[in-house]
Point group: C2
Chain length 453, copies 2
């Protein structure tokens, strides 16, 4: 019996795919990276399916690449040659939703926005909202410790995760963390698995924290600026004034042009940046008015504000559409540096200078309240991967971010794309510890090999 026949025998019929035409679509994430050729794709429906795969993989020393919806932007879920893709998108049960304890227990294939909607039926919300939240899964969010637009107020995925059910490399199952909002029994394995990009275990359920949903749709403002520096100054002023926005996003001119090219938005020739802010606190209207004032005081050329959901959604539509608009212009290398908040304007200016110097098209959006920037390097659709000038520009962006006390990745993960810069941030002793931890959890090196560390 071949290894694959043995795997098929361990699973119910229909759960294993081996036709290369079919498996290819499960081999990729949202990057340009050309994946390895998987032996098979397993469509897991239960924890036991995952256990069966990991036991089999340990027996045969076959690499396993866990996969959510494939919306990753760093190559964390691209398949490897001769490996199995362990697709978890069919594990979509919300096993429990307790309004009294404000928690839910969910499987990894649940779409993030679906969990949020389920919570809202009880006056609660699931706070983490990566831009991909309508198409990405909780499992993928946990694997990369995804952030999102609301995390300026509510924190990243880690901040909403209390405990995990994890299948280890050898198929044993553990529960980490707890159902309570506090707890310090034992080492923080929950935190260790979150953001580890499937290299330490396969998450088959998560106990997540829900929060009381705001009473109404957030008050929303959008402001245009004729200089990036003015927009950045407005951000600093908003934070310094203690506004506590629930969303604070900045878009540069190149991003706005990409949106304009796709769907005309009447972009003014002088506009260099747009700032979008929301507030969802009890005094949201007052906060919104204060944000408008601060934008005007910092030279905004145009400011709009609304607390009607329809108008507000129109104001943030440009932000939600930004990535799709860029993908129309070319292939995208999406980066994700994060700098201390006060360094944001300097980082934006560095990116502009780097783009000019390398003749690269870089369109930047930023979760401005967090100092997290997404410079998107757009290159020719016809090219298989970024040309040398784009890589050179990306290299400079990483080095500048680190020099400012920043990090390579705020919320997308290291995956494959950022591994070559990893040592610049972590250093040799930390790398040794990372590999020690990897060896402890995955002694055969079969869990998503070559990623994250």
């Amino acid at each position: 019996m071949t290894a694959i026949t043995e795997l098929a025998a361990a699973l119910a019929p229909g759960k294993i795919l081996t036709d290369p035409d079919v498996t290819d679509s499960y081999a990729r994430d949202r990057t340009f990276l050309e994946p390895g050729k998987p032996l098979a794709v397993v469509l897991a429906e239960t924890r036991d399916d995952v256990v069966a795969v990991m036991r089999w993989a340990t027996r045969h020393r076959v690499p396993v690449v866990p996969r959510g919806a494939g919306t990753g932007l760093a190559g964390g879920a691209t398949s490897v040659d001769g490996g199995v893709v362990l697709a978890l998108h069919k594990m979509t049960a919300i096993r429990e939703l307790s309004p009294a304890d404000e928690i839910a227990v969910v499987e990894p294939g649940v779409i993030t926005a679906d969990l949020d909607r389920a919570a809202r039926e009880h006056g609660l919300m699931y706070a983490p909202d990566p831009s991909s939240y309508e198409i990405s899964t909780i499992g993928g969010n946990l694997a990369t410790n995804a952030g999102g637009l609301r995390c300026v107020k509510y924190g990243v995925t880690r901040d909403s995760a209390l405990g995990l059910e994890v299948v280890l490399a050898d198929g044993r199952v553990i529960d980490t963390g707890r159902r309570t909002v506090k707890g310090v029994t034992g080492y923080d394995l929950t935190g260790l698995f979150i953001g580890s990009e499937g290299t330490l275990g396969v998450i088959t359920a998560a106990t997540v924290r829900l929060r009381r949903a705001p009473a109404s749709y957030p008050a929303t403002i959008a402001a245009e600026f004729t200089s990036l520096r003015d927009a950045a100054a407005a951000v600093s002023a908003i934070i310094a004034a203690g506004c506590q926005p629930s969303l604070l996003e900045m878009l540069d001119r190149t991003t706005l042009e990409a949106v304009e090219a796709w769907r005309s938005i009447g972009l003014e020739p002088a506009t260099k940046a747009m700032l979008i802010g929301q507030a969802d606190s009890a005094d949201a209207d007052a906060v919104s008015a204060r944000m408008v004032e601060l934008c005007e005081a910092n030279g905004a050329s145009f400011v709009a504000a609304s607390s009607s959901p329809e108008e507000a959604q129109e104001l943030i539509w440009v932000r939600r559409m930004a990535y799709q608009a860029k993908e129309k212009l070319g292939k995208c290398l999406v980066e994700d540096v994060c700098v201390p908040r006060s360094a944001l304007p300097f980082m934006i200016e560095k990116i502009e200078a780097i783009a000019a110097r390398h003749d690269a098209l870089i369109a930047t959006v930023a979760h401005a309240g967090d100092g997290n920037l997404h410079p998107v390097f757009i290159f020719d659709h016809a090219l298989p991967e970024p040309p040398p000038n784009v890589w050179a520009a990306a290299d400079e962006v990483f080095r500048e971010a680190l020099a400012m006390g920043g990090t390579l990745t705020g919320e997308h993960g290291v995956g494959l794309l950022k591994r070559r810069w990893l040592a610049l941030e972590t250093g040799p002793v930390t790398e040794e510890l990372h590999h020690g931890i990897k060896g402890l959890f995955d002694p055969l090196g079969i869990l998503n090999p070559g990623k994250a560390i």
Copy 2:
């Protein structure tokens, strides 16, 4: 040269204490536990002192017990026979405080409340406030992942820590985490060190997140109830109404009697429980009024509210004094179970029943909004340790908490006191992973041996 002479030679004069009468006071925490006899106490003043101690300890295989202010309640910092106590309370520098980035870089000996006061000079706050915050250190808070009264709104110590400087068992130094509010480069070593009670490394600095301080002193309420269940129902109603208190504490009759016995507070004979709540949001007065309403609707026999700092501090004084009052009555075994919020009233009733069945004096305060209870078992001053009936009662409390989906410790740590129940919560596979991690970071087993895991 003896090992101790060699250690003394590696440090500046006056940094090493060996007189048993002096070292004894550094060998204890705040529990009744009789510590082992240390060889010496090192009063570290710099990171290099810590490096010197760990290099020496590795060379000679001597156990090292890191120590903050010794305010621990689980035996995490009690010394071991033949070991060195590495006292960090003299490392008190606030290396940096950046209002623009809302972060501070602090050494482990900084008193928690001192950091908060330093932040408030800039309109910011350091949120974590364990009851001991006027006497405990940031290093100790990190070692136990301390919670506090405000953590119902602002989270525990982990939620305010961005990065650490850590001296490893062999004296090598690493920086974990980052200065940015988000970041996913590499495994979450920051989270791994936090709550590990000095068993994986010695924290010599932390980059912590500061938050915008509320504009005014929190609006405060105190309510008395003639039944614990009514008080618990008021808690549930306050949470369900979305009040988002910044503090929500409950005290039982036994606790109130301890305070009454120490400093007369005019305790009514019928009062069975007190609830203390605060709100610090922009609409704090409205939230406070709503909390008053909900207490009254749930049968409060008396309710007071105030937003004047003096009056408010008087209202919460009873809570802040609770532990000191109990220590007047006897030696204390302080427990720290945490249950899902909805289980709080059931847990309180179980504790009462357990106290009665075992004829044990148990005074309970609870961080009610978090489901975190501190049943304090009070026993005779003359006894060296809790008598069998107290241990039997504590055992039942732990088992009940776990049966309700809770945890052994919400914020104090496992230390020595809770190790015998650890396996009930974690299970054998997780224990194996804990010991694997311990072996990776501390292969000689010299860092705070016998604690936490």
